[in-house]
Symmetry: C2
Subunit: 214 residues, 2 copies
């Protein structure tokens, strides 16, 4: 398990479908490349979008490209309170039953009835790295953050394996602020319970009942 995993913070951002992009930015328009992101093929666009909820609005929210089949807005739990929508924690793409919002661009606006998620924290890695780290796609692991004065162990971290990925753990701004990160923070995968997925709530309940597991 000799791979420190760089940790990256995702600020609020939007993935958009081509059809929705045209509603906001005009017919036949496409998102324009501004800068590469850490995951291969993903980039931040010049275009920015306003996100409006029942209670609040965020202007100039970053748009990531390329276009996806479905529009998705990723925010933090703090953002969800400001927007006035429930903070629903989901993996990217799993948007059924999530809240909607209004998206506003220079050429039009659009109400989406679902697609606003708080991204579940996750680690991207290649198949080779998954073998080195002894984990599999969709495993839920514990990770230790290396941090000054404010270390913590994240549970419920999803492993995402694809040849298209680079090794990186993604957290949102709330999670990043909960530990005092230095300039290049990293995490280490921790195998508790022999590497089995295990529910922390159940573990807490067991401790309350006097059962000791490790």
């Amino acid at each position: 398990m000799g791979l420190p995993i760089p940790i990256e913070t995702s600020a609020r951002h939007i993935h958009i479908s081509q059809a929705d992009f045209e509603i906001l930015f005009g017919k036949d328009k496409t998102p324009t490349f501004k800068a590469d992101l850490s995951q291969p093929g993903q980039y931040v666009c010049h275009e920015r979008i306003t996100v409006k909820g029942p209670k609040g609005t965020f202007e100039n929210v970053a748009l990531l490209g390329p276009c996806r089949p479905e529009t998705q807005v990723e925010i933090s739990m703090t953002d969800s309170r400001k927007l006035g929508v429930p903070g629903v924690i989901r993996q990217s793409g799993d948007t059924e039953g999530t809240p909607g919002c209004t998206l506003i661009g220079p050429e039009g606006s659009l109400d989406i009835d679902h697609g606003v998620i708080v991204a579940k924290r996750h680690i991207h890695m290649t198949p080779v790295q998954a073998i080195q780290l002894n984990v599999r796609d969709n495993d839920q692991v514990f990770v230790i953050t290396e941090s000054y004065e404010r270390s913590l162990i994240f549970a419920d971290v999803v492993v995402r394996v694809s040849p298209k990925f680079n090794l990186s753990m993604h957290v949102d701004t709330d999670e990043a602020n909960a530990f005092a990160s230095d300039s290049t923070p990293s995490v280490t995968i921790l195998k508790l319970f022999g590497g089995q997925t295990y529910n922390l709530q159940k573990w807490a309940d067991e401790i309350q009942s006097g059962i000791t597991r490790i």
Copy 2:
């Protein structure tokens, strides 16, 4: 270890000395009681104060009473970025070498050259509760948060024991948002390494080197 510990979130707030209070609110004025807090004898005041840093300002920051020997401003890591001061994690009262700020009240303003801290997460408890939980004053413990989809284990949690305390863990808004708390969240103390204090960074380094400790 059969005591679930209620977890409470501290928003940004100020403790003030009587002398500093008079600079902001007028000679011979004292803070006025508005509502009790969970810790006995502590209360929130009617008075509010503006906190100004090099980059930003927070208006209407809550003042807690009674007065203390020294003025102290407690903010989150997110707040420290907005104010433009370093986020220095400290226990309450340990303010030497911390950043300062400007405090503004209706009758005057005041530059403090230190006293702005990000409060180190901690658990208040009575001596009897400390015996029940098998911990001592100033112990650093791990705790499991019971939470939906976003559980985590906080390391570096300081135990504070006093007959004047009620059982409660205090975190700041960043830490609270990092786990999805329900309406009455609670935590459980977790004894790793036989209850010895142990550095998570060291543990992470050991895992990187192939050493397994639990």
